[in-house]
């Protein structure tokens, strides 16, 4: 396999394994066996096993932000679409995201992983700002950040609790107040 494909295959296998077996399901041996490569190949692509869940998380969020928003989509449309994608992503990858929190916590206690994590989240936040580059009469950077914060909190609640209906009501309220509370929220 070419380098790029091997890296992708490792990430895909990690998403599968973490979703199936939880945080304890990810070891270098299991992962190497699942992908059909040697452990040396694995560590050629990733400095440590704990880097892999972080890379997998990036992949899933990037896929979400790669959504082809049409030029005439309003700020409200974009927010609604991002919310719908978050609900769908949590539904599809529930156990993976749960496992991810274990590695997120570990990464916060490891300076190298923490730096790597921050860089990748900053890239994702910049992509989020692009999504709102057309928003008028509002601090776009603050709006992009607020939407990211709400979506992260929303994902956390969907993962931890068993009341998606209540989370949806809160999400609808958020969309409504943003629409009414910003000057460009003329569609209501």
């Amino acid at each position: 396999m070419p380098r790029r494909d091997t890296r992708s295959a490792i990430i895909d296998a990690a998403i599968t394994l973490l979703g199936r077996d939880g945080p304890d399901g990810l070891s270098a041996s299991t992962l190497a066996r699942e992908v059909g490569v040697s452990k040396a190949t694995l560590f050629h692509h990733f400095p440590s096993i704990d880097d892999i869940p972080l890379a997998a998380f990036d992949r899933l969020i990037e896929q979400m932000l790669d959504w082809p928003f049409t030029d005439d989509a309003t700020t409200e449309d974009r927010i609604a679409q991002l919310g719908a994608m978050t609900f769908a992503a949590v539904e599809t990858h529930r156990d993976f995201f749960n496992a991810y929190f274990v590695f997120f916590g570990k990464a916060m206690f490891d300076e190298r992983l923490r730096t790597r994590f921050r860089q990748s989240i900053k890239t994702l936040l910049a992509r989020m700002e692009d999504v709102f580059s057309d928003a008028d009469d509002i601090d776009r950077k603050a709006l992009a950040r607020l939407v990211a914060i709400v979506l992260d909190g929303l994902a956390l609640h969907l993962l931890a609790l068993d009341d998606a209906h209540e989370v949806e009501r809160a999400w609808k309220l958020f969309q409504r107040v943003v629409s009414k509370g910003t000057s460009n929220g003329s569609r209501s």
Copy 2:
């Protein structure tokens, strides 16, 4: 020590140990030594070591919600106060909250812990609804949930990234849109 005090002492020690040494710093032996009790006493109070970080998290959030909001505090005042307390709690207990995510992730893969976690979060959400019991002209339950979601996302961003200033801008935008977007947001 009376039972109640021992339980409290165990929780306090867990907050200290997790904050100092991270998720790997919490073992039954270390914790028992820190509190000055036997491991048997520890397991008399908690069914498993993984229950302790969850109980510690509850304690910190309960302390936050026990804030004596005055009767004349508006919905905006209450939201502002909860935000200020979240910023302060993350600042003071940063490493504890990071460690907590490790246990949160683990708990999601353990049916008993997951059930226990859900019950305690539901209690906290009900307390959050009490904070907003005076909010008029708005779905109070949805508002309480939305504020909880935003504060959780906000804490996550404060823990993971190094840009509290940007998080504050997003938080101010949230307060502004809620104030403008709800009918009782007359103070501006």
